[in-house]
Homo-oligomer: 216 residues x 2
């Protein structure tokens, strides 16, 4: 069966976004630094239709993240927008008219709306009946390919806490944000168990891959 996987960039002090996240600054203060290792890569730039970029030890990690994904699930803040634009069905999210997904994307929300079909194969579907329903729909859309939990922290936490995440790659960036959104929070009791399967040192980041562990 296809895997449910996520990759998330985290500061050394545990944050996946900086403080003061807003509609105009969704990653918060300093949060963009978490993604510098990725956006500088040739493998990333290609999926966004741009030339150039680096090839280094992060490249195979990025290819694994970006490759073999048939559907993505994300929280509503990652689709784009706070309460202002969200309530207007004309709002088309943060991702432009040709989003980099090129496959169906399922957005976790409490606000029902019709699917939003954009260019390049990306259609946003809005799921109002919870994470398990979203996963079921994403699995059906992905076929033999993997389902990626795109983020943010809250979406990843919910799938991790529910034991629905097969594989988690943390890209640990050597910055201290001091405050912001924590990845490993709200996980309930007992906390999920993980098994480390790989660690890769790359310029300015260490990628560590975990799979779901034995029940404690």
């Amino acid at each position: 069966m296809s895997k449910v996987k996520t990759n998330i960039a985290m500061s050394l002090d545990g944050f996946v976004a900086g403080p003061n996240q807003s509609e105009s600054d969704p990653l918060g203060i300093g949060g963009m630094q978490l993604h510098e290792w990725l956006v500088s890569l040739k493998a990333f730039r290609e999926t966004h239709g741009a030339d150039g970029g680096d090839v280094n030890a992060s490249t195979p990690i990025a290819e694994e993240i970006l490759g073999n994904v048939g559907a993505t699930i994300m929280g509503r803040n990652m689709f784009g927008g706070g309460p202002g634009p969200w309530v207007d069905d004309r709002w088309r999210g943060y991702w432009g008219e040709d989003p980099p997904y090129h496959h169906p994307v399922f957005v976790l929300t409490r606000h029902a709306r019709e699917p939003l079909e954009l260019e390049g194969g990306t259609t946003f579907h809005f799921v109002t009946d919870g994470i398990e329903s979203a996963l079921q729909q994403a699995r059906a859309a992905a076929g033999d390919k993997d389902v990626s939990i795109g983020g943010g922290a809250n979406a990843v936490q919910q799938y991790l806490a529910a034991g629905l995440l097969d594989e988690l790659t943390v890209s640990l960036v050597p910055i201290l944000l001091g405050e912001g959104a924590r990845l490993f929070d709200n996980l309930g009791e007992p906390t999920p168990t993980l098994r480390q399967v790989q660690a890769v040192a790359a310029p300015g980041v260490t990628h560590i891959r975990y799979v779901r562990g034995e029940a404690a």
Copy 2:
């Protein structure tokens, strides 16, 4: 000049001790799991006078941690004990009559007492006038060797925030403790900058070495 360095084992969710730390359980619930990679090593067992143990990718890291150290600085909780035993100068700490340090150890405390000389070259000195004084005394005692900040979290935080830590190795253990003592907390503004210099995957742990970065 000799380095000021520390190695600290941290859970994936950022804790260096579990919840409910007490005199009888100084690492808190689940905290001992943070050190399993270390205590199983031959290199560690030797310093404690024990035979056997594992040799693996953690071995060179442990040798680097344990080697070339001329003095250690630690917080009073790591010396041993809460307010109960501490106020009694007959209290000899957690480390037994032949502690594994074999060099001078400087304990940060508000409670002055005479140095405690134990077997095997370990003498505990009690420093009541702050982290800079402790470092000055430790440097003098260490000579050409390094000064190690032994822990706990609070002592490491103070040296990191003050810009006095040259090198920090985080041994990231794939467990989620949920709550406890956070390593990266109380760091003030601006947060310290770090540069990643090495990452090593080992059984059940990833060791990442950082050095002090440029001032932001």
